[in-house]
Symmetry: C2
Subunit: 255 residues, 2 copies
């Protein structure tokens, strides 16, 4: 079993990517120590890990806060993500066998079903996981870790914006990536990946102010109680109502 501080860092990470802890939220040592019932030092170690991961920012003598990336940094993160996924696509275009393509298609199918069922939260998660699966097929653990970190940071970014996503578009993109990749159309795949991420960034309107709806204690309690474990269930306020027909749950950017 790994260390306590790592476990706490994992929980904090989950809470952040679940948008239960929003950017700018103070992560006080004493408060967290009480919540997790550990000493302040363990909390500090966890916060160091979060800061190294880009999810928290530690200011000397002021404490740690959930990171509040600038628009500039948001762009850089998406650029980096695009670069990584394009590179992986290039590698996979040579090396990916039928089993790999099958796995990708199966995943897309699962997401399609989630959308049909109107389960936006699940669809959101599956949409993210597609990218993770994509990179995992490269069989490069180092690359996987880099990519996972970037994905976490993009997930954090979503707390800062008031846009939502069009799951169908994203899903179609995934489907097309698979098709193009299988037919060896690498150039088109890479353009699609670029466009895919741009379509996400385009909707970004950074509201510098984010209102925390939960105190850290409220945000973290479910994880401690074990009420939230493996299956990610993001807490997202949907700004547009989710699709009612059950077949095409389009959700568009608001404002």
């Amino acid at each position: 079993m790994s260390s306590r501080s790592q476990a706490i860092a994992d929980i904090l990470t989950r809470a952040i990517i679940d948008h239960r802890l929003v950017p700018g939220c103070k992560l006080g040592e004493r408060e967290l120590a009480e919540i997790f019932k550990v000493s302040r030092i363990v909390i500090r170690q966890a916060l160091i890990r979060l800061a190294d991961d880009g999810l928290a920012q530690i200011e000397r003598n002021r404490g740690a806060f959930v990171a509040r990336p600038s628009m500039q940094e948001a762009m850089e993160i998406y650029d980096a993500l695009t670069l990584v996924e394009q590179g992986v696509a290039a590698q996979l275009s040579d090396r990916l066998g039928p089993a790999g393509f099958a796995e990708l298609r199966q995943h897309v199918e699962r997401q399609r079903q989630a959308i049909e069922a109107g389960n936006d939260a699940l669809a959101d998660v599956l949409g993210q996981e597609f990218h993770t699966l994509f990179v995992r097929l490269s069989r490069n653990k180092v690359m996987q870790e880099i990519h996972a970190q970037l994905v976490r940071r993009t997930t954090l970014l979503r707390s800062l914006i008031s846009a939502d996503f069009d799951y169908c578009n994203l899903l179609d993109d995934h489907q097309r990536v698979i098709d193009l990749l299988e037919r060896g159309r690498l150039k088109q795949v890479m353009e699609l990946i670029d466009a895919h991420h741009r379509s996400v960034v385009r909707g970004y309107i950074m509201d510098r102010q984010v209102f925390p709806e939960l105190t850290p204690r409220e945000a973290l309690q479910p994880y401690i109680d074990g009420k939230i474990d493996k299956a990610p269930k993001p807490l997202r306020k949907k700004t547009a109502e989710s699709g009612g027909t059950g077949t095409h749950g389009h959700v568009h950017a608001t404002k």
Copy 2:
């Protein structure tokens, strides 16, 4: 000023990439605490940072050691580095202006002079820095940090191998990358980057045994005394004598 643990992590990182601390070397908390004259807690925090960076490995109840990457991991690191630099090259092929090209050429010229002067250590460092400069020109801080971490890990890898490098070949590669990039030959640039890294990996013969020549105390003392500060001066046992003519310092893999 940043935290003490960060400063110590930086020193340890420097000591590792300078090959003063070799893979497998035990990083005992008590010992390091005495060396740096801080408490064990600060050391532990520094070690956490190193582990997050992939330079150290923490085993529960056993302590921290300088990372000893497997051959598999070494390959993955180089693959990731190739992927990143190819991606950056693709970005730069659009966006890099004359000033950027001038900066690259100037750097290569400096390395050429170092080689002519027979200063292998400096040439080595400059050779590394070319890659860093290359990525910096992308103006993406997120990407820079990812790349810097990968470079640190490749530098660590060099402690594990008995091969040395042919500076001229690498320098020529750098020169050619610039030329090709300027002429918009992106495809060739990317092939060259791939070949460049492969030529490095090809010489890898991992000796699982590495003999520490310095105790941690000996390895770290110079940094504490401030005798080694900014300019990296790697301590490398050259397995072949450095070029004597002054114009072509070829150094080949041994054994």
